[in-house]
């Protein structure tokens, strides 16, 4: 059996908030899963296999939580799989779930990813419990400073991304941070957290979950003929590279480039900026928007910030990015990657509500992890042959 066309027919997410104190751990995850089942017009018994993703187990202090979550996710008697690829894990979760269908092994598969950050402390967990943890912002600040230096980008680019994503979040009912009076001034005057990263250029810590249901070509066609637009998974790609060695370019990692071109090749994309209608990129700190626009060759090297500056990445722009508000607005870490992938799928299904991009036929979802060294990407479209 080789590659089988695969469709997304169900998507669910929780409202992402700093603390979901009203729900248990499994309660939070089931909320997203049940919404995905409802969207797909399925029940638990329709699902053949479950793939769970989350960031390090130290976040919640539950080791290998796929074991505890098995019956909570209706997986009794079914395969239950757990992936973990650092920050890219949510993306990998979607990809591995889609591979179950693409490989012809299962017909209906659920990907679920979550983080309940309020149960623990991210800095603690990222530092393996030791003191003086750098956290993600502390670790990434030098790379961002290097990008700014190399590209000659003016400092307002970071503020502008933050304002755009926060404004987009106002249109997304599930987003965590909603700052109605967000402005360049407000971002500029927010506290410096990890120079050059300011507080309002940083992602929050969220509780939240996301679930995506995949099915085969027949299932996708059935949904379509029932008036429920599926998102077709046209391609998936992952790459990893060592985190540090002399000669590594961490600002434009080779893995990011290779991952993108592997993906574009599968889909038949030669000009990503023209052929992709919108993207959900993993941007936990504002500067990562131009970094990844360049890292994935959507923009020329040194030109990514100009796409931001010209407003091209706004919802009404030529290449909208993070219309959902992105990681900057909601960050249940383990789910953040799957949310990118799911938001891309919502767009091509025409189900993104107020943050819908007109004419989004082909969308890119991306996530990265660890020392900017793990990459997961997919392209979804509203037909199997969007360029035909």
């Amino acid at each position: 059996m080789s590659f089988q066309p695969t469709a997304i027919v169900g998507i669910g997410q929780t409202h992402h908030t700093p603390r979901r104190r009203d729900v248990s751990f499994p309660g939070l995850i089931r909320e997203a899963a049940v919404r995905a089942l409802d969207d797909a017009q399925m029940t638990w018994s329709d699902i053949d296999a479950v793939v769970l993703g989350k960031a390090p187990d130290l976040f919640e202090g539950v080791m290998k939580p796929e074991l505890y979550m098995s019956d909570a996710l209706g997986a009794t008697g079914k395969p239950m799989f757990r992936v973990h690829t650092a920050g890219s894990v949510g993306g990998t979760t979607g990809i591995v779930a889609s591979h179950h269908v693409q490989a012809g092994v299962h017909t209906r598969v659920m990907a679920v990813a979550f983080e309940k950050q309020s149960e623990g402390n991210a800095q603690f967990a990222l530092g393996s419990g030791r003191g003086a943890s750098l956290g993600a912002g502390g670790a990434f600040a030098p790379f961002i400073r290097s990008y700014i230096n190399r590209s000659g980008a003016p400092e307002h680019i970071g503020w502008q991304v933050a304002v755009k994503d926060r404004q987009n979040a106002l249109k997304n009912e599930y987003a965590h941070l909603k700052i109605a009076d967000i402005s360049i001034e407000k971002v500029r005057e927010s506290p410096m957290m990890w120079e050059p990263i300011r507080y309002l250029e940083s992602c929050p810590s969220s509780d939240g979950a996301c679930a995506v249901i995949f099915t085969d070509e027949d299932g996708g066609n059935a949904a379509a003929s029932d008036g429920r637009q599926p998102a077709w998974v046209l391609g998936t790609a992952v790459r990893s590279e060592p985190g540090s060695f002399p000669g590594r370019d961490a600002v434009r990692p080779q893995g990011a480039i290779d991952c993108a071109w592997d993906l574009y090749g599968q889909v038949g994309i030669t000009n990503p900026r023209e052929q992709i209608d919108m993207a959900e990129l993993y941007v936990p700190f504002s500067w990562f928007e131009p970094i990844w626009l360049e890292g994935h060759d959507i923009a020329e090297v040194g030109e990514g910030w100009k796409m931001v500056d010209s407003g091209e990445t706004e919802i009404g722009g030529a290449f909208p990015v993070n219309c959902s508000g992105g990681v900057l607005s909601s960050n249940p870490i383990g789910a953040s990657g799957l949310l990118r992938f799911a938001e891309a799928a919502l767009q091509v299904r025409g189900m993104a509500g107020e943050h819908q991009v007109d004419g989004a036929n082909v969308a890119l979802g991306q996530a990265y992890g660890a020392n900017m060294q793990y990459f997961a990407m997919w392209i979804v479209a509203n037909s199997l042959d969007p360029f035909g």
Partner: protein, 327 residues
């Protein structure tokens, strides 16, 4: 045998309970044990879902027990620090009266001979109940719960919605030979590096392998690295307070590009430079701990004994691409 270095991962996790676990925990404060109806059966302790199908269960609670029957058991001769009792006890599957399944808890039976399948047990209630499974200290043989004198089993003022879980695991990690050698070099105030025989890249400290060629690096690949360099990039961290945090004030970590070799040391300490004055280009030299100051981190930093980097006072390096030397 390798030398071992201890590290503890310890954290007081705070769990929100949600409607079903919360109701169970709240009832424990009142000395009641709840199950939940699942069809014509009672599941105790309650779950939010049917464990066979995943279907949601309506919050239709039923009081069960407090006594029950042991269906299975084992004997713990030496309890761990996490166990509910500090003396020999049994872990048992206990089917509480009215429940259709067993629950696992401790039984304080004194001796293993006192345990048997079919025996009757009842809870020993803790005096200070906070809404946690441990409010039942354990079960005891017999039909009658043990209740602290004067305990009226009053309901809590507010429903229980949260519980704490204190995780603590001590790890003893072996120090690798490469880390030991890097540490020994540090004692002599030498900065050890290793050069890959295949690609000739140099790695600082006792890394032990080249990630590009995936070959092991051994003593024959050791090289001494220059102890002077330039701050190429930096980060300033505003510390978040968490259990185990050692920092209270903003602190900096700098990238050091060593002189004359293609090596950048990541996230190093910078000495005697106020955080506000850190900038790329500062020329620095390695500063080593004295014998008395040396802290053994088991080679985790790859260069133990290196306190950090101190400015030499020479004019700054003004190379334009310095900032790009991040790795």
């Amino acid at each position: 045998m390798p030398r071992l270095v201890e590290h503890r991962i310890q954290f007081p996790y705070k769990r929100s309970l949600g409607p079903v676990f919360g109701a169970f925990m709240t009832a424990l404060v009142e000395r009641k044990i709840l199950g939940i109806r699942n069809g014509n059966k009672v599941l105790a302790p309650p779950l939010e879902w049917d464990p066979q199908t995943g279907e949601e269960l309506a919050p239709d609670f039923v009081e069960v027990g407090p006594a029950g029957t042991v269906t299975n058991w084992t004997w713990v001769p030496e309890p761990t620090e996490q166990h509910p009792l500090d003396r020999s006890f049994a872990f048992a599957c206990i089917q509480l009266d009215g429940a259709h399944n067993s629950m696992i808890h401790a039984v304080d039976a004194g001796t293993m001979d006192a345990m048997s399948a079919g025996m009757r047990v009842a809870p020993r209630w803790r005096a200070e109940r906070i809404g946690k499974i441990n409010d039942i200290e354990c079960f005891v043989p017999g039909e009658d719960p043990e209740i602290p004198e004067g305990d009226t089993g009053e309901a809590p003022e507010e429903p229980v919605t949260m519980m704490e879980y204190f995780a603590s695991i001590t790890y003893r990690n072996p120090v690798s030979e490469n880390a030991e050698r890097a540490g020994a070099a540090g004692k002599e105030k030498r900065l050890l590096g290793q050069q890959c025989p295949v690609c000739a890249r140099i790695y600082a400290g006792g890394r032990g392998y080249c990630p590009i060629d995936a070959v092991e690096l051994t003593p024959e690949h050791d090289v001494d690295l220059p102890q002077r360099g330039v701050v190429s990039n930096y980060t300033i961290v505003t510390p978040v307070q968490y259990p185990g945090q050692t920092e209270t004030e903003a602190f900096a970590r700098v990238m050091i590009r060593l002189d004359g070799v293609d090596v950048v040391l990541g996230y190093q300490g910078l000495i005697d430079v106020p955080v506000a004055e850190i900038h790329p280009g500062i020329r620095v030299a390695a500063m080593w701990a004295s014998e008395a100051e040396r802290e053994d981190d088991g080679g985790r930093s790859m260069i133990s004994g290196l306190v950090g980097w101190i400015p030499t006072g020479e004019p700054d390096d003004t190379s334009p691409d310095l900032l790009n030397k991040v790795l």
